[in-house]
Symmetry: C2
């Protein structure tokens, strides 16, 4: 068909060149564009609307757990960044430095925040005096800057948008509980809203956040078999509290250090949506995150009554709570179908003179392209059902894809061969020694994605060195 031919011409097939397919989809679905600022992107309306929905959903879930939003400065004085040793080593090499304000050179350089642990610690040191001031469960929505060398839209850019939660607690137990709670908020959000299944687990020491005692992560698998770290939650213990002097007077009148956490999710999740659900016709958005869920496309719209019917359907569906638009432009229906598919709008409703005569419309699912003829009298009910089914199917399809691309390896030969030849996760036992992680990375470029909370004993020995194993690890090549 002409339509499909056009699409094939417009975007690279994902089987031919996945990276180019990704770039094409980002461009053709009008999500981002390049700018004159190297490594920084414009997020265009279609992309930003997805981010607004992510913000809305996450923020609601945060607030249900008692989170309050704040805003801290975007600048960090160099001396403040240096207070926690591991943290500064992790971030100093990749920050942007402000050296001049107005016409004058600054007495102290300021970095543009790459993350705000140090600012929150400085703030908490002043705010927290007594056990009555605890817990502090604050979050901010902002942009951060990391001076990356190679960048890709959404996945890695010098500036990106995110939220960063920072909490302070009276006890280690409470901090640990909050660290896990927020990881679960992220995991549930990914699965319920983005239809992206995740592995919940703990990072190895090599992969954990600079300054953290423990980093928990959710890891997802993209269509090309590469892993994407999708959200992290860190338990800092009292390490930052000791570096910044954040102490409180306990009920028994003793002076104690607080225990802290931080957790973040970023605009890279838009990249995850593209790479988990997209196909060779473009983007496919899960109904619960789609800024437009339904595109009504009139067929033979020049004929009397067709456009009116399309507008009437839109009005009814808006009233029923759907996010719906009509494409009443002067393009051909085939062109409109292609655009709706490229933009990933979950369903389209085709309505033409014959449909009107038969009091029906045709619902077409974006993911399966299934056509469902439905009476106009039950359009709203059917649409609810179709969108719910589609949301469910997208999650299960992604889960099946991930499971079909998850392999176990018992020997190092098997491990290396699988990692190199079969894109996906490889599950294998590990001794806990960083030397083995380093060797795996050198031999294969793969990294330990996480030690899943749901451990399974595949064998007794480390897949790399043969020493007694301490944990089962998900390994993979990652974005």
């Amino acid at each position: 068909m002409a339509k499909e031919k056009k699409l094939v011409e417009e975007i690279t097939s994902m089987d031919v060149d996945f990276a180019q397919w990704y770039t094409d989809v980002v461009k053709k679905a009008e999500l981002t564009d390049y700018t004159s600022v190297k490594g920084c992107m414009v997020i265009k309306p279609a992309g930003y609307a997805i981010w607004e929905n992510i913000q809305h959903e996450l923020d609601r879930r945060f607030k249900e757990t008692g989170v309050e939003n704040v805003y801290l400065p975007m600048f960090i004085p160099e001396s403040l960044l240096q207070k926690e040793k591991d943290h500064v080593e992790g971030f100093a090499p990749e920050v942007a430095w402000v050296t001049h304000g107005g016409m004058e050179q600054l007495q102290e350089r300021l970095c543009v925040r790459p993350t705000s642990e140090t600012l929150f610690c400085d703030f908490y040191a002043k705010e927290i005096q007594s056990y009555r001031d605890l817990p502090k469960v604050y979050n901010q929505w902002c942009s951060v800057v990391r001076w990356e060398k190679t960048t890709r839209p959404f996945l890695r850019s010098r500036e990106f948008l995110w939220q960063e939660g920072h909490t302070a607690h009276a006890t280690a137990e409470e901090a640990e509980a909050r660290t896990q709670q927020m990881l679960n908020v992220y995991a549930d959000f990914c699965e319920e809203v983005l239809a992206i299944p995740v592995i919940r687990g703990r990072k190895t020491d090599k992969e954990k956040f600079a300054g953290a005692e423990a980093t928990y992560t959710i890891e997802s698998l993209m269509h090309d078999g590469k892993a994407l770290q999708s959200g992290t939650s860190h338990n800092f213990g009292d390490g930052f509290a000791k570096a910044f002097g954040i102490q409180y007077t306990a009920k028994d009148n003793t002076l104690q250090y607080v225990h802290q956490t931080s957790w973040g999710m970023t605009t890279r999740m838009i990249g995850a949506i593209i790479m988990v659900h997209g196909d060779n016709s473009g983007l496919v958005l899960p109904p619960r995150i789609a800024p437009v869920q339904v595109m009504v496309i009139p067929i033979a719209q020049h004929k009397e009554g067709v456009l009116d019917k399309a507008y009437a359907i839109k009005a009814d569906l808006l009233q029923a709570g759907f996010k719906v638009k009509v494409d009443d432009s002067d393009k051909s229906p085939g062109w409109k179908f292609s655009e709706q598919e490229m933009k990933g709008i979950p369903v389209r409703i085709e309505i033409g003179p014959k449909d009107i005569e038969a009091n029906q419309a045709v619902i077409v699912r974006r993911d399966t392209r299934e056509k469902i003829v439905v009476s106009l009298d039950s359009l709203s009910e059917k649409l609810t059902e179709v969108l719910d089914t589609m949301q469910h199917d997208m999650l299960e399809r992604a889960r099946a894809h991930r499971d079909a691309h998850t392999y176990d390896a018992l020997t190092y030969d098997e491990f290396v061969k699988t990692i190199n030849e079969k894109p996906g996760f490889v599950r294998a036992m590990w001794c806990g020694d960083q030397a083995c992680e380093d060797k795996v990375k050198e031999d294969t470029t793969a990294t330990a994605r996480c030690m899943p909370f749901k451990q399974e004993k595949i064998s007794d020995v480390c897949v790399c060195c043969g020493k007694p194993a301490k944990a089962m690890v998900y390994w993979g090549k990652a974005y």
Copy 2:
């Protein structure tokens, strides 16, 4: 009374020292705090929640007019900032410069955006080819940086939060209509939601935005008689389009320059709320912007049934759509009243054993302290009425205050005497010559706030030089 004594001790009276009163309220109502980053503030939960409500209300109004949200980089290459001559002269002296990324010196300095006209122009130059691509009506919510020497929380800080809308249109008429439309959105928002009456008008050339053909403004009057520029909307004509080469092919196949606008509102509006509505007991929030509208305060809460009743009232009111909390802390009722008043929560509901017996509660308005005894059976209806009345009264009280502090001056002696002795707006005629504005500023520190759209001819001649007058101007000393 002990309560009032405490309050008097805690915050400076506004009649004694308005600036200190403002600082005290900002601190005691827990809106912001200072940071280790000179000139930058923390916006704390109580302050940020107001900003979230401002965002929510404005964003909804923007979207009703067709605005789409986007996100552009926070950095501007120096060469890009310099493309429009007036614009760079206006902003270059007060920007922060990034000179190093990671360990390396940048080939070209980047400034942290003080405003994003140049970035939007660069973006639009690529995006706009044909009349089909117009109009572009984009907005972004972000922070900007201006390297101010003296700073005050919300009113003037080196970093502040705002939204900036940037549009491109096919014709000058359409750009002018959009400039005025957005000014009216701001004005309506201020009056309807913030209960702050505004004067709508045009800036003089001396006061207009760097690079604009015309700047429209809404000006409000604070309790101390100083003016606050509360929102601006700029018409750029095709000046930026010519500097950045933003051209489109028109329907008649000719190449045309676009016409552009920009418009912004900032976190300084939180300062305006404080200074228009606050009193010697603290903040007073208009019900429509208050994050918490109702504080239920149990009296003798240790007595059986009191706390249960307070929670039941909260549940009912939440159900009815009010934003409500219960103060069930172990503080005394008097202390709780003071805190509720300090934080500006619009009403409190007092409920004690005697009230429960009589099936009633006491509603106390924050602004007038009026006590209203109401049957528990009609609490929700009465509360709606009280909050609506309070919202209305606050606007009218602020309008009456402004009108009572607006003076006309016919001679220069009268003008100078009024400006110096009577805090408020002075209305006077002006010849249109910048020399007179300069003289007024030198003699009195006052500036031309705006030429109101509703012109009135007070006299035929300029109040300063005596030449024929061109416009009536609102003059004032401003924040």
